[in-house]
Symmetry: C2
């Protein structure tokens, strides 16, 4: 294969086929993909969940992951948040002419590794090579199809008294990308939280807890999730500021740059609304996964301020947690 | 809404939500999409076909279509070629900061129109806004899920004696894009063949013809399809050069620029391998659709030169039709 990607590798001809078989099929090949023609033929259940997302990140390789891992986690996590087991993924890769082939190979290896964690297969792909300058390196779109294992998990289902649980410390992905991009030197490196959530969701459900709602706190962070929930379920969520799990390095970045950790993106952190009697069991399950040691109950669903998220400080003061606006950290996921 | 797209409209916050509800939901809204959360919940059959494709075209609006129409046709056609009825589509739009909002609206209207022709629904979407210069205008990825209406349509199923049928005159999309891009003045404008094929496939099947193979002749054109078929089915295909339907304007562009019409991309033209006794009926069905008046039997499956496509000239000479290579018309679909 050539050292860098060429336009001819994206034109539907022989070079294109060679790239697909020599790189994508080599790592991601499976029976369905290999028998696929214009489309793959799948065995499905009666009810499936489907979602799509595009990924562009700068830098492409960051502490804790890369765009390949991100593109699997992002889409599989969206399925997992509906209580669906990720089964089939499609990949559409857009790569800039001149991109290093060994970097692309590294990305494909990350994809393979993360798919295995989810137990999902690639069933269809597309590769386009764009002329130098037409895109910035590489973009990946993934669409996922998952089998629903439970029903009714929904942003509309929050109930009075629900405990609001976060699966780990927040803000890592946004902070890691920002530090990587700006070359900020830190005493301890911040790794992105980028991770697949299905194994955690599966274990929570297997332990008899069916959350009323689950959501991964990606773009817009924890603040976006909670604001969406109060709106959709017409409730109030009261959060104890002191209970928010935030690691020191993320706190540091936030102070330095004037960000709120609650507005920073995450890529392997999710929020659950569970009945209060299930909160402890949920925490136990979550904490059994490495990285989730700081899983915490951060607040509760009330009816005090309908459609608002309230942040209660340790000194008893209250303020609203707003939906993030503006151009906060675009292009981080 | 702002006159041009801003970075803030892609960041997961309020502006992003406003763009999604004010533009995408306004035109593409349906019950499934409106109830979708991190993922949409779908009713599916036991066997579904799934495919993905990314679209980037310059110019974005061309004679006969635009990137919106193209992104529906491309993916729905891949499903149709497997004998699957397009049901559910996901859209991932990547748009450059500063893109005109009314152009985006025009594209979304094209999407709506073409979805209706297929009877398909958008069930999940994603919008990313990239900084000026990071992409060239707009790119769209669509993933489609379709319900198989017949089984066994496959590039591996060609049989000795099959008639090879093309649904209309070839090379229009490639020629139209090229003419549009280079500003070539022609006596008669060439419109792209860009069209949805499911209605034609549905009618062919309803008339009792189950093709052994079907393929839309997109990137790489007719030559790519036929070469893939002979390889996969281990047969020879002999094509009568004189029977190839090519309109005058496409012939003109090819002569001018030294292209073969058989290597030019199409976006609403497909090739069928049918038993010879079904050839006439297939032609009748195809010709009943406007634009397909030139549908023709162009050759047959033989065993003369295994894995090769042979072009027989009107003077009795023969040459091989090769798989296109190189950088022929990149970025046209």
């Amino acid at each position: 294969m050539t050292r860098t990607i060429t336009l001819a590798q994206g034109n539907g001809g022989e070079e294109n086929r060679a790239l697909i078989s020599g790189l994508f099929f080599r790592y991601l090949g499976n029976e369905i993909l290999e028998r696929a023609e214009d489309a793959a033929v799948l065995q499905t259940e009666k009810k499936m969940a489907m979602t799509t997302d595009s990924f562009t990140v700068s830098p492409i390789f960051f502490s804790g992951g890369d765009i390949g891992k991100l593109s699997v986690c992002g889409t599989c996590n969206d399925l997992a948040m509906m209580g669906a087991q990720p089964k089939y993924l499609t990949f559409a890769v857009m790569v800039e002419e001149g991109f290093e082939t060994r970097k692309l190979e590294k990305i494909v290896r990350s994809i393979k590794k993360e798919l295995a964690i989810n137990g999902a297969k690639v069933v269809s792909g597309d590769t386009k090579v764009l002329p130098k300058g037409a895109i910035d390196g590489i973009m990946i779109n993934t669409t996922g199809l998952g089998a629903l294992s439970v029903e009714g998990v929904s942003v509309r289902n929050l109930e009075m008294g629900d405990a609001v649980v976060v699966s780990r410390d927040i803000g890592r992905h946004g902070a890691a990308i920002f530090a990587g991009r700006e070359g900020i030197e830190l005493e301890s490196e911040i790794a992105s939280d980028c991770a697949s959530l299905w194994p955690m969701v599966e274990k929570v459900i297997a332990n008899g807890v069916i959350p009323n709602a689950m959501r991964d706190a990606t773009r817009g962070g924890l603040a976006a999730v909670l604001n969406e929930w109060v709106e959709a379920s017409d409730v109030c969520i009261e959060i104890d500021e002191g209970s928010l799990p935030i690691c020191e390095a993320v706190s540091g970045i936030c102070e330095l740059l004037g960000f709120e950790a609650t507005a920073l993106a995450n890529e392997g952190t999710f929020v659950l609304a569970v009945r209060p009697e299930n909160a402890e069991r949920t925490l136990e399950v979550l904490r059994s996964f490495p990285g989730n040691e700081m899983a915490a109950v951060i607040g509760e669903v009330t009816d005090r301020y309908p459609k608002r998220v309230v942040l209660r400080s340790e000194w008893g003061t209250k303020r609203f947690m707003e939906l993030p606006t503006g151009e906060l950290l675009p292009r981080i996921c």
